[in-house]
């Protein structure tokens, strides 16, 4: 407990010492799991950081540390930021959950925002995006566009978030194309261009002509471009540099509005611990430009679905839906509740293969 006391005193002393200065300059810290140049997950979080700087100018100072391993290293980086006077810290990976909670307990005056986790405290909020809404649109386009009727899917880890995406894409691909099949490869990484490219190649060799990815690099798109006649989607970021090639659309994580709102809340003293799970409607999930490779009618349908989801008129998980084993899940017209979605550990009916564990 001595350390806790010491740290709190130090933080307090620092708060007092720099109090006059801090009044007009809020220090905001960002802890990233990957490099800011990954072109996907971390890149988009860093765009959110830059948006905070652009919005508040001289009133904020942002700091970040990239490629932080999940575990004790993350804990040290967060502590270091808090000691250096950060009053708001965004920790942008699921694996930072326990470290965030630990550090937050030592710095009650510092606000923490943890992405994609489920543990909160008085000074820890959580936030995530409903990526599955974007997956529904992807699935629709993929189901319409495939000629081999084989859609390849590169999964990162078999966790609820990824399984949710697979289910959402599959449901909407099957809806427009009853013959469609999903081939799923697990890469067991979020970011490893070499492994991701290998996974894409394996799927293409197995006949897939559409590649969906839930990993963060552009390597699968590069592999698709090399193979030719394959389409894919940008993941986490627009990946627009492949728009002339395989990329027909993308799911974009747009953290900027949230980061700006939370920073403002700290400045105004209105910050409270919350749990945010936003989708296309509030703008946390964006759908990247659908290219001309997609026929006009398919594009119109996709945009209509996006509109309906944004307005809350359509939920991607609407019954009737069965689980993979054939047991009933959602009745006609029934909508999945968030609890089930958050802990999703089953495939829907029609997907072949089992979830590894």
């Amino acid at each position: 407990m001595k350390l806790t006391k010491l740290l709190t005193t130090a933080a307090l002393a620092l708060g007092l010492a720099t109090g006059a200065m801090a009044q007009d300059k809020l220090k905001v810290g960002f802890v990233y799991v990957g490099p800011v140049g990954d072109g996907g997950w971390t890149y988009e979080h860093d765009k959110g950081r830059l948006a905070v700087e652009a919005e508040f100018g001289d009133k904020v100072e942002t700091v970040f540390v990239e490629s932080v391993p999940e575990g004790p290293d993350a804990e040290r980086v967060m502590t270091q930021m808090a000691l250096d006077g950060a009053k708001l810290i965004f920790t942008t990976s699921f694996g930072f959950m326990d470290p965030t909670i630990n550090v937050a307990a030592k710095f009650p005056d510092v606000k923490f925002e943890h992405a994609t986790g489920y543990k909160r405290a008085d000074n820890v909020s959580t936030y995530s995006a409903r990526f599955y809404e974007g997956r529904a649109i992807q699935g629709h386009i993929a189901g319409k566009m495939t000629e081999s009727n084989i859609i390849g899917y590169i999964g990162s880890y078999p966790i609820p978030e990824v399984i949710r995406g697979i289910n959402s894409a599959f449901i909407h691909a099957r809806k427009v194309n009853p013959d469609v099949q999903f081939k799923i490869v697990w890469a067991y990484t979020w970011f490893d261009p070499a492994k991701e490219a290998d996974a894409a190649k394996v799927l293409i060799e197995q006949g897939a002509d559409v590649i969906l990815q839930h990993t963060d690099s552009t390597a699968p798109l590069a592999a698709a471009a090399e193979a030719g006649n394959i389409i894919g989607f940008g993941q986490a970021s627009d990946m627009g540099e492949y728009a002339d090639g395989p990329r027909v659309s993308s799911i974009i994580d747009n953290w900027a509005p949230y980061y700006i709102a939370r920073t403002r809340a700290v400045m105004d003293g209105t910050w409270t611990s919350t749990d945010t799970w936003d989708g296309i409607g509030p703008g946390m999930v964006g759908i990247g430009e659908i290219t001309d490779k997609v026929p006009a009618d398919v594009k119109a349908e996709a945009l209509a679905m996006k509109e309906a989801i944004a307005k809350g008129e359509y939920h991607p998980f609407t019954g009737p839906l069965n689980k993979q084993d054939g047991s009933a899940w959602l009745a006609e017209g029934e909508v999945a509740d968030d609890g089930t979605l958050l802990g999703m550990d089953f495939y829907v009916e029609g997907i072949e293969g089992t979830i590894p564990n």
Binding site: M1, K2, L3, L6, L7, A10, G29, P35, V36, V63, F64, V65, E66, S67, V68, P69, E70, G71, P72, D73, E75, R76, V77, T79, Q80, M81, L83, D84, F94, G95, D98, N102, Y118, Y157, P158, I159, P160, Y188, L342, G343, M344, D345, P356, N357
Partner: protein
Amino acid sequence: MLKLEKRPQPSKAWVWLAPVVAVIATMIAGGALFALLGKDPLVAIRTIFWDPLFSEFAFFYRPQLLVKGAPLVLIAIGLSLGFRAGIWNIGAEGQYIVGALCGAGVGLAFYPMEGWFIFPLMVMAGALGGWAWAMIPAVLKVKFGTNEILVSLMLVYVAEQLLASMALGLMKNPEGFGFPGSRNLQQYPSAHNAELIAGSGMHWGVVAAMVAVIFAYVLMTRHILGFHIRLTGEAPRAARFAGVNPGRLVLICLGLAGALAGLAGMFEVSGPAGRVSIDFNVGYGFTAIIVAFLGRLHPLGILMAGLLMALTYIGGEIAQSRLGLPAAAIQMFQGMLLFFLLAVDVMTNYRLRLTWREVA
């Protein structure tokens, strides 16, 4: 003209001078790199090497040096025994993972029972796990003459898959809402490798690392086994004549290295890390190879090298956050350390001679 001339005996002075020269060369080259990135090189070097030790918040960073350095030292000590004898265990990362899994597995199996015996059992399981994983390349080498470098390295990737499988399946926290990762052992008092004195960074892993340093020192200087290890590394033929059984030596060296790496993993998972997660391993097993060589394969050298390496990690993070240095620059900086060490090491076995080209 400068000429390299082989020394009849490796230079004793250069053996110890080389790491110091390498560190200085790294500072100079690293400083140049930072300057090219538009940062003040002196400030950057000071932030990395000085601030963690003597700045305003050193009370937090100094204990962190022990936390970060202990697994490095523990693993490097084990590796150095084999390296001395020419037995190349490159797979400490895998042994570290398996040790952590075995240790955590025992702890989780007893949850939520409390008892003094749980933690010692976990320690034993961790050491045994690492030992068993190292025995695979050892036995294959002794029985079939396989290459231990390849086998131990490949087993790292097997261990990583095993880790992912455990975090997603068998050891998944039943109260974790389906998310991967085990229960947090920090919240399970009987299994928690807590700080022995709060705020000191001292946990059982640090104690184990220090014991390992002393043990290795005595072994190498006073014990017949240490003599055999050195003899095998320096003169394998002579060793055979002296009655050293090479197979036995392989089993002992790989076994000890595996057990120590397993212990490091176990202390990490039950202490600073707290839980089995997919990305639990962060490369200690590979960094320890650098530490072992930077420390000249000598126990005391390894202790210093481990702390130095920990310092560059901690200082590197501070430099990233305060100065906005990219992580890749810090990693390059750490890489330079080994690069310069290997380069300067030439001086141990060769000497520079100024010669005048003779007119033909």
